[in-house]
């Protein structure tokens, strides 16, 4: 981490010793993570491991219980006075995370607005951009995710993949410095996953800083600069895709990946006679 800081300057996101408790349950137990500009970080792990909670803490959709999260150098959600944490106002939270875009597993589009309005409304309501300029920028964003032809459709008239692409366009329209994706393809039918991953791949290629909680190991292997394996609330393994997927022998990670592969194997030639079975 220190050599990265030296090379890349101030990280966009800096998570330091973050704990998150829900009641008596510790979901995150001392997370340290820093994300540099233009870096794609994929966060993987078993369900219930805390990976989504971590992403939601970085967006301050959850209040973290201990530690510090810095967004471009500014402490998120709290102020420190003589070492004591104080929750800041919602307006101050909104100011610090103004350059953070978030894409939700369930899309969370506003169903009473068309695709275009979904993208344009935040520009008008949060940034005070005049209606026509907002619509223009919204159109450009929908074009970017390949949906300019569906601008006037309501969310319920769009497929899941199209809805998620509107969700991405909506976040991109705010010109974020980092995009957080919370299992963006987990709610999609399998044949619709590809179109969303393609949009994300294009974004990564353009140099967008991204943190992606995902179960798409192929995407993580191809696109990520850094893969982080979270298990039981701690970062168990982190490194390049090769280091994590190929070289690491952490037993929990191996088990997790093994389960993933088995789930995705649907046919093997010679199923009746496993390849390693002695030939008769």
């Amino acid at each position: 981490m220190s050599e990265q800081t030296a090379a890349g300057g101030r990280p966009i996101i800096d998570v330091k010793g973050v704990w998150k408790r829900f009641g008596t349950v510790d979901v995150l137990k001392g997370i340290d993570l820093s994300i540099q500009k233009s870096e794609v970080t994929c966060i993987i792990g078993p369900s219930g491991s805390g990976k989504s909670t971590l992403l939601r803490c970085i967006a301050f959709l959850e209040e973290y219980s201990e530690g510090e999260i810095y967004i471009e150098g500014e402490l998120l959600g709290f102020s420190l006075e003589n070492g004591k944490r104080r929750r800041v106002s919602d307006a101050e939270v909104a100011r610090v995370r103004r350059n953070v875009g978030f894409v939700f597993q369930q899309f969370n589009l506003w169903p009473h607005m068309t695709a275009l309005e979904n993208v344009a409304a935040p520009l008008r309501l949060a940034r005070g951009i005049p209606r026509e300029d907002a619509a223009k920028r919204a159109r450009a964003m929908l074009d970017k995710v390949g949906l300019s032809a569906r601008a006037d459709a309501y969310p319920s008239q769009l497929s899941g993949g199209q809805q998620q692409r509107v969700g991405i366009a909506r976040a991109l329209a705010m010109e974020p410095h980092i995009m957080l994706f919370d299992e963006p393809t987990s709610a999609l039918d399998p044949e619709l996953v590809g179109e969303v991953l393609q949009v994300m791949r294009d974004l990564a290629r353009e140099g967008m800083t991204m943190a992606v909680v995902t179960h798409e190991m192929g995407f993580a292997a191809q696109v990520a600069d850094k893969v982080v394996f979270i298990d039981r609330g701690v970062i168990a393994v982190s490194g390049s895709p090769e280091q994590v997927f190929r070289d690491n022998d952490n037993p929990r990670l191996r088990q997790f990946l093994q389960n993933y592969f088995e789930r995705n194997v649907f046919w093997q030639s010679g199923d009746e006679t496993p390849a390693d079975a002695p030939a008769l």
Partner: protein, 223 residues
């Protein structure tokens, strides 16, 4: 006993005055009640509990006691607290406070019907709390709560009759006095029933049209 509708035509100026006054009380009382209801629901849901607790108490009192008693307290009890109101002001204000309590519960249910993820997305975009209420929550919840709001509005039209007990000369009190001087109870009560029923039909028709308007996005989804 004869059935003589001439009783109504002979007294039409009185009846018309009574009806207009009833409509005035109803419309103004409902409008203020809606405003109170929305404000109470917003304050209960989106501010701190020190503000919410007294409002919850207000709603409980208004829903838990008869409107008749509330009017008595406001009109006859008011002067003891330095609240010296004319019968009409006390009546309209009372109706608004009474209706507002019920409306607030309807609005509250409406706010809770919008999925929290949508609110999260809006906050993440930096949209203010008030703008979220106005642009994300209200347009969606209105589709859902419109029938309940219309229902309460119809109920309030009939509650206006209670204002006769604090000497407001609205339709029901006019009809009662005509009935008691002419003994033509059947005709006058029939008139009363028909007019209240007409109110119901008007509100229902308006609500249907409004439902179509606010529900554009759901209607369009069906084809």
């Amino acid at each position: 006993m004869t059935f003589n509708l001439a009783i109504l035509t002979d007294n039409w100026p009185l009846l018309l005055d009574g009806m207009l006054l009833t409509i005035f009380i109803w419309v103004v009382g409902t409008a203020i009640g809606l405003a109170i209801g929305l404000a109470v629901a917003v304050l209960q849901l989106f501010t701190n509990r020190w503000l919410a607790a007294p409002l919850t108490f207000y709603v409980a009192v208004m829903r838990g006691t008869p409107f008749l008693i509330q009017l008595f307290v406001i009109y006859y009890g008011g002067p003891f607290f330095g609240l010296d109101l004319t019968p009409l002001v006390a009546g309209v204000g009372g109706l608004a406070l009474y209706g507002g309590a019920y409306f607030s519960e309807i609005f509250r249910a409406g706010f809770l019907s919008v999925p929290p993820g949508q609110i999260e997305a809006a906050r993440m975009m930096g949209i203010s709390r008030l703008a979220i209420i106005r642009h994300v929550q209200l347009p969606q919840m209105l589709v859902i709560i419109l029938p309940a709001l219309a229902n309460m509005t119809v109920l309030l039209s009939k509650e206006t009759a209670v204002l006769s007990v604090i000497t407001v000369n609205e339709m029901t009190s006019v009809v009662q006095s005509i009935g008691s001087t002419t003994f033509a109870f059947a005709e006058t009560l029939l008139f009363l029933a028909v007019v209240y029923w007409a109110f119901l039909e008007i509100v229902t028709a308006l609500a249907r049209r409004l439902e179509k308007r606010v529900g554009r996005f759901t209607l369009r989804n069906q084809h």
